[in-house]
Amino acid sequence: MTLLKREEWQGFVRDVDWTPTYVDYEAIYPEWHCGTGKVPREAWQGWEESYKVSYPEYVATQREKESSTYAVKAALQRSNTFQDLDEGWKSATKMHFGGVALVEYAAVIGELKMARFGLNGSWRNMATFGQLDEMRHAQITTFFGHEFVGQDAQYDWTQKTFHTNDWVPIALRNLFDGMMVAPNVVDLAIELPFTFETGFTNLQFIALSADALESGDVNFANMISSIQTDEARHSQQGGPTMEILVEHDPVRAQWVIDKSFWGSARAFAALTGPAMDYYTPLEHRKQSYREFMEEWIIDQYIHTIEDYGLKKPWYWDEFITGLDTWHHGLHMGLWYWRPTVWWRPKAGVSKDERAWLASKYPNWENVYGDKWDVMIDQVNANNVAATLPETLPWLCSTCHLPCCNATPSRNGEWKVRTWQLDYDGKKYHFCTNACRQIFWKDRDNVNHETLIDRFLAGQIQPMDVGGILNYMGMTPDAMGDDPDYGAWTRDYIGRAVEGIAAATVQGATQ
């Protein structure tokens, strides 16, 4: 005699909704947590996940995964691979550990919200598995990052990042709080499992997994590919929610998906873009960030949303144009404000690397080359101090990232500009037009002081770089610096110096 098949009894696990009578339905499922909106309550009875799983199957599978992932880790711990890794690659992993570990945990909190307020019993059950998965991801990422704390203090930021007011975590908390924890569960199921997990985590996980193997970091590849195998299970909460919302309120579905896609795209341009196009050693790069976005995000994403009867987001042209600029500008910002980051951003603009960048981004030299030339000449004139920041960049009031996007002018010149908005007696600045539009539509929630607003309001004291670094929780042992200035400047030693650099170089030599 064998056990009954899952299909025979799983209907009972899924069928757990009842009609409350002792307490109002609205008190158990408050509208702003549940967000049913224009969707009639009965419509949620049709919510059905496509990939079914039972509790005993779950714990059995996950036990296997855990033991194999930790076995690989234990085996590699005895080797010296870490010491041999390239600094650029190490920086990509520091960014990942610090930027991702606690985001996984934010997803635990979000999944628990759906496990409580989801509008269908089987949705709440899927979210119960979802919070377990995210707990796994938070724990495994934290534990793997912890291993290197003794060798390099920057790995302390695996746990520390999101407890600080560094500008990077402020931007990421703003994004992830707004799409993973704070929204009602209908929006949350579309923003987190649908847009973010089926869309963007592919980017970080598949791209970085490939780069990790190329760079010889088997342990890291092992960790993130094991994490990725869980996504298919809980990310499917998005699809059924989307189907029901689109049927009853397509305008809202379109807005929720457009907004979260945009926010994710901005964050990934800051984190994954530089890691792929600048930090990963040239010989190990598989694809450019743009190529990867085109292959893994754009085609698949557009295909998916069109399947649901939705349209391309309104900002599509601005987004596509940004694939050639956003991450290059952000990379330059991360490098320039390197004392504010918990990794060692390498500039990655040697002659060979620039040739690669120019082949992938035909406008790269035109837009960014001369700025890097200034840095190169300063370094070659032994004047690294001139390449360090003395002020702060203007931050966007929606994405909280620096306003550093170059756009072409009519005369062909590329300039960084901001989009402005006068609202409630204040002038707001945005990095892009879509950030400005999102702010306007969501202003009750997203109206939040940027680091610059705090600085100008006197909340950061003393009002100098030291005060700012202290406010950001940055300590000398974790402060970022270029790991090897010579690597990207020695190609240019002895060339004639022009422009801004010429003045300071001249001054320095006198």
Binding site: V13, S54, A101, L112, A115, Q159, K160, V181, H448
Partner: protein
Amino acid sequence: MTEQVRKPRARRTFSAFGEIRKMPSEYEIVTHGQNWTTRQNRTSAFEQNPSSAPNMWFKTYRDNSALQAHDWEQFRDPDQYTYRTYVNAQAESELKVHGVLEEYSAAGSAAALAPGWVETLATLYTPSRYPVHGFQQIEAYIGHMAPTSYVTNAAGLATADFLRRVTTIAYRTRELQLAQPSSDIGTDHERRVWETHPGWQPARKAVESVLATYDWGEAFTALNLVLLPTLDDVLSRQFGEIARDNGDELTWLLHGFLDADNQRRNRWSIALAEFAITQQPTSASAIDKWVARWSPIADAAAQGLATILAETPEIPRNADAVTAGAKAAREGLLRGILAPAEAVAKVSAP
């Protein structure tokens, strides 16, 4: 910013642990300070407009709850469960569950049950997937709102334990449906019983009321310290014993396996109450007040279920004995964390 940075002593662990001599355990490394909405020096839980609705919810129902501690990050689950510990333990335990399910199924035990006992299963056991799912929802809320990841993780795992229990009930519902085709097990009968049977109504009232309790400290007290210790005793311990009395050894065995989950939840729940009281003595009066408010509701729920156990099985158990047993189980668990009864009476008197 350009001056040379002196290299400090190498760290052994995250700076979040402060200057400690003892290396934190794997449990502590992966659990400590994971929830950034509880970070120090924050203006609001979420990095958005401090007066947004989500921020106000967390401020009101978490940060301003009467259940307080100076430093929640010092709380430890006595079992120190991580995700890895959890899936290992539960996979192991599920193998045992499957073992007995197979063994008893091979023996044809479900078909051999006495009619009164089948009716008891149909009235008390198979409909219980609804309240257990309600517990699952409330436990998820406790985890969602908890002021430290140490509590969120314990509650998150307990949430999954309830899904495990619903899964076991579902499996047996199908098995009993096949073995007892003349019963109405596995039809819309379960929901009807849960929604209308007089024996279940006080329990349903209790579950719905805790679902609508938003303060995280009160939700935690009402569910983990009052309702569950009371109803676990009826639905697990006593029901298991009565099952064995009525020749249903399988039910008795399964409840024994699954009760380990309840015991683990009790351990961290009591530890949490003790921790809050030790760190912040005013937490004691909050817990006392909530226990006083929810205890009669839990007792009424136990009493309703006791009527079913007294009337339906071939070998019943006295209703008052069931109710008294449940009450004693709760009081035994809470002994030591509550103020003496007279002190509570004084506090709650108008």
